[in-house]
Symmetry: C2
Subunit: 352 residues, 2 copies
């Protein structure tokens, strides 16, 4: 079958571009002495995770236990769960995994640390812990070195837990300031900060400028997307995943409707400076996907000199590729325009 014959909408991934992106990030990290620990939340496919490790990644990162379960089932054996786990059910699942792989977990509260401790107790395994701090993103993460130190002391005292260092997302200039103060204070308290883990594809190529950083967690770099191109982290040629869609209706001269809506592209926007609409139609750069319903994308083609026709297939660069990947059971794999195979997105929908 040719790519053009695939039923739409369908995400199509170019493996040459994937390979280029994986090698480029690995080479960058190697050249700066940074450990790369890719986040699998973007691709959610064990085969890609294995390739990342083969190329030099020091283990992988998962956001959810369900993702870690899929990856460990597939033979990945060094996993950071960069997400606070809270409660008895999470502790049970973490305990089961800690018997099968080398685990590290990010925590930002006493209760999250207790959850990891309960897992370590139940499994008789040692689990590494990173204390998450906030570099200005105002999401999770302790907001002071005092809190980080208190949490590190609690972790050091907990049987089965090993304090491995600090974690933040995304890493930025503020990261270095926090880390410098933490190194001073932790050192006085006799606690070693082994790892300082940062992340985020948009500013990944500046990671080497952040003093103290030892590890880079990036996910989007494997596929790239409209947002990372807008951030200057990638070129359009480095975008590996496009959603192939079909124009299903052109009710007026200025309006085309595609068979991809929020259930295929997600409702995620990009910064207005990065462009308008819910994705970029390659070859119709003046078209604007101005509205998504669940199964319809309404496209303003008034500014297009050449306009797409009913039945025509289009290739869309998603605004945010991680959420697109999560909406599809399968992706199609291609190389240089040739369709090779389809691949199940095995950790798709692992929300827990």
């Amino acid at each position: 079958m040719r790519i053009e014959e695939l039923d739409t909408p369908v995400p199509v991934v170019d493996l040459d571009i994937v390979e280029h992106n994986l090698k480029k990030m690995q080479a960058y990290c190697d050249s700066h002495g940074l450990n790369l620990r890719p986040h699998i939340k973007t691709h959610k496919i064990p085969a890609f995770a294995h390739r990342q490790v083969e190329l030099g990644a020091k283990g992988i990162t998962c956001q959810k236990l369900g993702e870690a379960e899929v990856m460990i089932d597939a033979g990945l054996d060094d996993v950071l769960i960069s997400y606070p786990l809270v409660g008895a059910t999470k502790a049970d699942r973490l305990a089961a995994l800690s018997r099968r792989a080398k685990l590290r977990v990010g925590v930002d509260s006493g209760l999250a640390a207790q959850t990891v401790a309960a897992a370590a107790r139940a499994s008789n395994a040692q689990i590494g812990v990173l204390v998450e701090f906030d570099s200005g993103n105002k999401r999770t993460g302790v907001v002071s070195v005092d809190e980080a130190l208190n949490l590190a002391i609690q972790i050091e005292k907990s049987p089965g837990l090993r304090f491995d260092g600090l974690m933040t997302y995304p890493s930025s200039e503020a990261t270095a300031e926090f880390v410098a103060e933490a190194q001073h204070r932790f050192s006085k308290a006799g606690i070693k900060i082994g790892v300082v883990s940062g992340g985020g594809t948009p500013n990944a190529w500046q990671a080497h400028k952040i003093a103290g950083l030892t590890e880079v967690r990036v996910g989007t770099y494997i596929y790239q997307d409209r947002a990372t191109v807008a951030a200057g982290a990638a070129d359009f040629d480095e975008c590996a995943l496009h959603l192939h869609a079909t124009v299903i209706s052109c009710p007026t001269a200025d309006r085309a409707v595609i068979d991809a809506g929020s259930k295929s592209l997600s409702s995620d926007r990009v910064d207005p400076a990065a462009g308008s609409g819910y994705g970029l139609i390659r070859g119709y750069e003046d078209a604007v996907i101005e509205r998504l319903n669940e199964e319809h994308g309404v496209v303003d083609v008034s500014r297009c000199s050449r306009k797409p026709q009913v039945g025509e297939r289009v290739r869309i660069l998603p605004n945010h590729v991680c959420v697109v990947s999560n909406l599809h059971d399968e992706i199609a794999l291609s190389r240089g325009g040739i369709l090779l195979d389809t691949k199940r997105v095995e950790a798709r929908g692992k929300t827990r």
Copy 2:
């Protein structure tokens, strides 16, 4: 297991409320002589579709062929596909289904009509066709009675196709005007408009005021959500699906973070008049889910007199329940606060 012990995030559906909502809409349609043809895109579960038919629905509506395949596999036998199908692959799949169930398809272009005709030819079955027109939504649908009539004439001439009538979404006051003119013009051309199918839960209770309407396609009414409550189509007590989530972090007094982000709640917004944020936390109505990342919901709790704590479970009414249902492999079923079972969302992710 108790509901409180379910791992989070998890959508929990109250079956008493589902039953109430299904019966209420059926009674409304019955009392006004309207045929109810529920849209399964909201629940995506054959058991609920069967219940809708048992209660009096005249068949079901699907948006995508993949949804129709799941429903027909499960024994549903009268399906409207309210979506333009374009191309050879769609024709093949439609042909296969037309051998197994009574089908009707909405079209708004010559190419879409040709696709249905190709399916009818391949299967030797007769397929009903509705011509979709635009009632002001500016999505799909022909924009003039002239176009509708020309398309109906093309359909009447196509072997295997049966022109059944007109379709629009959402139905509104503009629907009646279009239908009145169409009835006049079609009648002069000797073409009978058997069905006039309208839809949309937000204005469903006004359907009887639209002269000429014969059929109501509604989906959201089974669960209801924040948007349909805001539209006045439902009360909060009629919302059947809540996403149960856990507070995983409270980095500052004014910020709580929940374990549900855009991969659990979607990035869909509601009209600002309907409220702010990405869902309503029941019992914390002054909290605002102000930002979603993929796995994090960042909640502004500054206006809450009582504030949620790390480890606490919360119930979230989604802005737009159809996309939430589509993000989860399973829902939990409950009745009066008692957990009964879990149910696979069988037509989830059927984007094609």
